[in-house]
């Protein structure tokens, strides 16, 4: 994006007298590489031609090594407890039709390849759908069961289990066709200054990733690891929960989970991470 270049020029001009900016490389992502259970996870990849970034880095690369190591071993990963629970849920009968997920989906590994392509266009409903929508559609329309709330434990467990099936696969989300206008809307939201502190997502995650903002090492803000196990939350959280938190920190009224705005932002942010591996469930501080 042109903004970055311009901004750097401004800084360079204004601070010619101060210490050189080159010292900022101290805050760059680290050199660690991630393999989980012997499987290589791509945590850094050359950005696609139309990306505002030159190189993409997973949020994992900006975390402290103790946090990183929790994700390298499924026995250590606290997010895997949720996955275990989801395996039970998958086989559990629920709703008026007396069915379990497993009655229609013989093996959860059939969902391999789904996560990298979400959100996607729902032809029947003529609107974009996220993994949460797809799961709830099966519950309400096929099982006669109640929809799970966006941030309900059952929902987080299930999105983690389904996401895990695609671990290691590159994010490839579709941004053309009927998704084009949704993507444009997400992009606009990404670059809009919000809140009393008056910042856009790009101010932190595009212009300043790699630097410390107080105690936090800023990443590029990708969503390839969601739902994520956050040590601060003591559990899994959804993409939209993270978006909410970032907006609240800059004193902006967040959009609601599942809102058209957050779905558009989810698509746009997902597209910024094309090529990074799915690493669900990731671990962050």
């Amino acid at each position: 994006m042109h903004r970055t270049g311009k901004k750097l020029a401004v800084i360079a001009g204004a601070f010619a007298l101060t210490i050189g900016l080159a010292s900022h490389s101290a805050g760059d992502p680290d050199e660690n590489s991630l393999a989980i259970e012997g499987e290589t996870i791509v945590t850094d990849v050359k950005a696609p031609a139309d990306s505002p970034l030159e190189h993409l880095y997973s949020g994992w690369r900006f975390r402290a090594s103790e946090t990183q190591s929790l994700q390298t071993d499924d026995f250590e990963n606290p997010g895997m407890v949720a996955v275990e629970q989801a395996i039970d849920q998958f086989a559990m009968v629920d709703g008026s039709e007396g069915k379990a997920c497993a009655d229609c989906h013989a093996d959860v590994s059939d969902f391999k390849g789904l996560r990298p392509n979400l959100p996607r266009w729902d032809e029947a409903k003529s609107k974009p759908e996220t993994l949460e929508h797809i799961i709830n559609e099966c519950r309400t329309e096929r099982m006669g069961a109640k929809a799970w709330k966006w941030e309900a434990q059952e929902m987080l467990n299930m999105t983690a289990l389904i996401g895990l099936q695609s671990r290691g696969m590159p994010v490839t989300v579709e941004t053309g066709g009927p998704m084009a206008s949704v993507w444009e809307k997400g992009k606009e939201l990404y670059y809009t200054r919000v809140g009393q502190l008056d910042m856009s997502c790009a101010h932190c995650h595009e212009n300043n990733y790699g630097k410390m903002i107080r105690a936090d090492h800023l990443s590029q803000g990708h969503i390839n690891g969601f739902p994520v196990y956050r040590l601060k939350w003591g559990g899994l959280g959804s993409i939209h929960r993270r978006f909410k938190g970032c907006m609240q920190n800059i004193r902006a009224t967040p959009f609601k989970r599942g809102s058209d705005e957050f779905i558009a932002l989810e698509l746009y942010v997902a597209s910024r991470g094309k090529g990074l591996s799915v690493e669900v469930p990731s671990v962050r501080n």
């Binding site: 901004k7 009393q196 300043n208 630097k211 107080r214 105690a215 902006a252 009224t253």
Partner: protein, 156 residues
């Protein structure tokens, strides 16, 4: 006079994060004029208190300047950010009227694209939370206090 001061601090207390607009001397946010990157006159009509300014600078709910700036003078505080330049010796680089303008409205005084918040401006980003909407991040007094503190950051 003492009576007036007591009334003032009461108002300041009630409004917590906003300026005590009731005073005649305070320049209201909309009335501030940034002229060629400078605001020459004190917003309160008097000099600020550097000790209080030091606290406002570090306080996460007020200036939170440490989120983005390193500052050796506050080395007792953990975690200094590196989004902006270090403020060590900042008073050697900028004159008081320039520093005041930077604090009041960084978008005008530094650059339109800056990440730095504008601390004395009523209209900020879209969807500002109700409890902060139409309010300045710092009061006029706090701006002057932080400014007085910045002026102590000299290296030469």
């Amino acid at each position: 006079m003492t009576k007036k001061l007591a009334a003032l601090s009461l108002v300041a207390g009630m409004l917590a994060i906003t300026a005590p607009y009731a005073t005649a001397e305070v320049v209201l946010p909309d009335a501030v004029m940034i002229d060629d990157g400078e605001v020459a006159k004190s917003l309160t009509g008097s000099a600020g208190n550097p000790e209080n300014g030091r606290k406002v600078f570090a306080n996460r709910k007020q200036g939170n300047c440490l989120a983005c700036h390193m500052n050796k003078d506050l080395s007792e505080q953990p975690f200094h950010g590196e989004v902006g330049p270090t403020l060590d010796g900042v008073a050697d680089r900028w004159e008081e009227p320039e520093l005041r303008a930077i604090l009041i409205n960084s978008k005008i005084a530094l650059s339109e694209d800056t990440i730095m918040p504008s601390f004395y401006r009523l209209k900020n980003g879209a969807r500002t939370m109700d409890k902060f909407d139409g309010k300045t991040i710092l009061s006029a007094e706090q701006v002057e206090d932080v400014l007085a503190y910045l002026k102590t950051l000299k290296e030469e």
